[in-house]
């Protein structure tokens, strides 16, 4: 009885808001990096997410599939703070409540997101796009006097090499091909060094060869961080391996290996059979 308060005192209260620029904030001591529990989101009466529960382990490569309107993008929006759930909880690691943080704070805490449509800054050069994404202090008064040191330049050069844009560093991002923009965006995510990477249809509009290279890249990246991929292309999902979650009408319909999931009659009915 007497010991209980002192124990509570001894524990440092978790900071609610990580400073912009603070990194690796997620506490993954319990193996799980992302918790979504009973998350419900409604838009004008339409239940985009219906008591969705989903757990992603640290270091996992998870693929989310499901028909249009299953809630895949809404789920991403909840994780990144763009949409607030009506009910339910969303945690990044043990301590960071995603439903209370802003988009910028969540990004700074270590969740990177690639959008469905490639969104690079078209009036900035490829190099500048990476410079903006580079892990560094995000506060306005710091960026006013920020200079790129050698290590940062090396890091950008390394990523340019990885996404095969070394020859395009000085070009405006708006002049790149669709596939190159997708790759630049992946590069921008990499220099952010996120702990959790969300990829929304990363191979949409890519050629077969680009898709193959992207798969290689994603599998390689999964060695260092957790990745959640939303994708329609089942061949790509198969290529990635890992666990698959099927969403349907805002909730999890099935979860497991791709082959098992494909064999599930409920999944066949709502998704694959059509």
């Amino acid at each position: 009885m007497t010991a209980a308060p002192s124990l509570a005192m001894a524990r440092e209260p978790a900071p609610r808001v990580p400073a912009l620029g603070a990194h690796g904030a997620a506490d993954v001591s319990h193996r799980v990096i992302l918790y979504l529990e009973d998350v419900t989101v409604t838009f004008d009466g339409f239940r985009a997410l219906n008591a969705l529960s989903l757990y992603v382990d640290a270091g996992e490569l998870r693929c989310i599939i499901g028909p249009n309107g299953a809630g895949k993008t809404t789920m991403m929006d909840v994780i990144t703070g763009k949409t607030r759930p009506d009910s339910g909880t969303a945690f990044f690691g043990q301590a960071l409540d995603l439903t209370r943080l802003s988009e910028a704070e969540i990004a700074a805490a270590g969740i990177g997101r690639k959008f469905q449509k490639p969104t690079v800054f078209e009036h900035h050069t490829v190099f500048e796009n990476l410079e903006l994404a580079l892990r560094a202090d995000r506060r306005a008064r710091r960026t006013l006097f920020a200079t790129l040191d050698g290590a940062a330049r090396d890091r950008i050069a390394e990523i340019l090499e990885l996404v095969r844009l070394s020859g395009e560093a000085g070009r405006l991002a708006g002049q790149l091909s669709h596939g190159q923009k997708q790759w630049l965006e992946i590069g921008m995510l990499l220099v952010q060094e996120p702990q959790l990477l969300l990829l929304d249809e990363p191979v949409a509009g890519m050629t077969d060869e680009e898709t193959e290279r992207t798969a290689e890249l994603v599998v390689g990246l999964a060695k260092e961080r957790s990745i959640v991929v939303v994708e329609h292309d089942l061949a790509f999902v198969a290529r990635l391996g890992g666990k698959v979650t099927v969403l349907h009408e805002g909730a999890v319909l099935a979860e497991g290996k791709l082959d098992d999931v494909k064999a599930d009659p409920r999944v066949v009915e709502v998704y694959l059979g059509r």
Binding site: F115, L132, A140, L144
Partner: protein
Amino acid sequence: MTPAPRQPIVLRLLAATPRAGWLALGAFALTALVVVPGLYLFTPPGSPLHVPDHVLTVGGKIMCYAIVAVAMDLIWGYAGILSLGQGLFFALGGYAFGMYLMRGIGRDGVYQSDLPDFMVFLDWKALPWFWRGTDHLAWALALVIGVPALVAVLFGAFAFRSRIKGVYFSIITQALTYAAMLLFFRNETGFGGNNGFTDFKRIAGFSIVAPGTRATLFALTAAALAGTLVLVRFVVTSKYGRVLAAIRDSEERVRFLGYDPLWYKLLAWTLAAVLCAIAGALYVPHVGIINPSEMSPASSIEIAIWVAVGGRGTLLGPVLGAALVNLAKSWFTVAFPQLWVFFLGAIFVLVTLYLPDGVLGLGRRVLRRGVSA
């Protein structure tokens, strides 16, 4: 995280502007700081080299407008915030400095009172509290910067936190400056009502109409313009400036990169407000009057037109735009006074449709074509 090695700020300022820019600035400084004031002061009025009074007044006025245009370009051209209320900050700076000039009249006013004439006319017995200390130049200058900065921070924090953007932001800024104009029109507000402030006599002890004072004022304004250009150039070429331009192009994407656009916008917005206020403070002694018409919605729209005509997202463009439009205005309002607003509207439509990059963009296109031909 290890901070990058720091270069002295002076070197960084030097590096931000290219050599051609420094040469142009040097030429401008030589002309505006030495040649023009020198010819004005030291050549006899009949001489072909003499610079007459009105050239100094018009030139000074246009340089003030150019500062406003550069500030407008910072927030519109680079940050994508189309403010149609910059006239408010210009006027606030003007009024703050106008208070000092009014106090400088002393007992030389019509009523030979310690109070400004309009207060005597209203039968006020004492200075309102906010006039206290305005007879000191330093305090007046602090007000010139502090009051508009405070208004900008409060309004900006509210607007940017609520994520008010685009045309909604433009409309609210129009409403803001209009409301301020109505407030300043009232005699009870304590700023001279619709007449504003005028009949200034002296500035820092010197007669305001003395040639030496006017030449100094002209040179100070030129220095302020040059300083504004160097400062804004530094800001837009820094990483901060690149984040700002990224916010202009895709604010949401910037947020998902981990930047909070609020502080970026607020800083640029406040800096622009302060620059407009400094321009306003310099403008008042040049023209000898400040009244609420500076806060009219149309005046603020005109500022946006200067920038559009000159070329958004460049720094030289707005300076050219402010000069061209205002020279055209000076001529038009004498030749066809009723037609000016129509002409201004026509310019805006034509520039928007055919010259998205303004005259500077047109010039560059012509040059490029000339090179490739």
